[in-house]
Symmetry: C3
Subunit: 204 residues, 3 copies
């Protein structure tokens, strides 16, 4: 499906940019910025392929993802002081990546005959694990574990795709509906500053 | 073996609870608490299956482990202020999990014809890697690397299982003897506050 | 190839020693020092084998690497105060390990018909991922991401091997030439204190 592939590449570029920016913020050298861009953009899907036993993972089967992530990361490294105007659109591209990654992950798990909860987990992981590895390599608690609706939007989209998969709806429609749900939820969350309940820890 | 499976589920629940509690202590949101419960309970076994090439890993083959970990994590998230009475029994359940995970890991490696040191390593990893991932995601040096006999108990149990595997003892007996060894060593270590020698670092 | 295997073992020992020393510096206990030695020496190659789908990974197929890493780590743990005289040679052994790991990684990826950028990445990963895991477990931002030419030397060596692989040069010569390139670049970098450009982050 050409549309899904285009959205996938757009999302990959957005995730690579966010990873590279995190590396720049941590004052890493050019190699560090490259690694952070790469893992943010491709880490989730790679982990998914390892778990599904589909090796070598997608990045080694179609090197477009690697070339794209590297190009974006290097561009951000060199021009980051002049990319301020991209900050706003990046939020939208990032949401598009989130939605696309979820449906690709959940969809692939369904193809591998994984059950409901496992498929949803594969979708959420495809979309969030790269960012978690980025944060771990930056020596931080992953942002997604602390204060983001990021993950709930993914959960909702993965569950919806599983549901639609049980119906006779054409695959392309299911994928688009689920991806759109994630994207819209994500943008609403940013717009209205939603966040998940957090545990208040009281030392006994 | 039904007994081993029951102990395995008990251990999974105990590990999920300890992971969820770590998430609460770090003031994570509900998704973070869920992820920490999940990786603590299932991360070690998943890594073992990846290394043995047995994909998809056990969590995707029998989703009971995922449902159990998620249920326990959510319960801990909601009721953690009222679960103080579980603190003491949790220590025992945790030890049971440790012993069970070691023998399942080492036993599976032996089935895959892995050698002595590799099999012991797979057992120790099954029991400890989930907790290490939990600590890495919490931005801490893994506790097990710093001050626990946790790991030695696992090493002893894994080595014992390998040894018994060379004899004509029925499998079930070997598994039970080895798991019990780990559990007893672990509880003795807690009771008498044992700890491993630590390197005293002197800057030259 | 016996020479390559010897260099591989020498590099494994050097990486295990550097990992064990990191554990000692962080005042870990004997198990922590062992784990850090093991992951530093074998983590990169293990990750490479997982990605290439060659499971169980090399460490479980030839346990020499495990026994060697464990022996070195324990020796460093016990005698670290008397090993000062090894500090200087360790730099050279470490460079040898770097070069050997890169060509083994890139070479194996080429055997698995991975493309150019993927093969170079597998080489760099084989040489650097173990150290990254060591630093993550020590709760630090991986050194290689911040201020080392470490990685560029690996990139150059991996790319050279890919290039030579396209010619009719005998495999053994290609491997030796590429490994030597990495080793010499690495030693020059240490000698002349080279480092990669770093992003200067200016908060807007």
């Amino acid at each position: 499906m050409t549309l899904l592939y285009s959205l996938d590449l757009l999302g990959t570029a957005a995730f690579a940019a966010s990873g590279a920016l995190a590396g720049i913020r941590r004052e890493m050298d050019i190699f560090g910025v490259l690694v952070l861009g790469l893992v943010t953009a491709t880490g989730g899907g790679t982990l998914r392929d390892l778990l599904l036993g589909d090796t070598p993972p997608f990045i080694l089967q179609n090197e477009t993802y690697l070339y794209l992530s590297i190009t974006v990361s290097l561009t951000v490294f060199i021009f980051h002081r002049h990319l301020e105007f991209l900050k706003h659109p990046l939020t939208y591209f990032d949401a598009v990546g989130l939605g696309t990654f979820v449906v690709i992950g959940t969809g692939k798990a369904l193809d591998f005959r994984v059950g409901f909860i496992g498929s949803v987990m594969m979708g959420v992981m495809t979309a969030t694990a790269g960012g978690m590895i980025r944060d771990v390599l930056s020596n931080r608690v992953p942002l997604v574990l602390r204060k983001e609706v990021y993950a709930s939007a993914c959960l909702a989209g993965g569950a919806l795709l599983w549901l639609l998969h049980q119906t006779s709806l054409p695959r392309a429609w299911s994928l688009l509906a689920s991806a759109s749900t994630v994207i819209i939820l994500r943008l609403l969350a940013i717009r209205f500053n939603w966040s998940l309940p957090r545990a208040r820890y009281i030392k006994h």
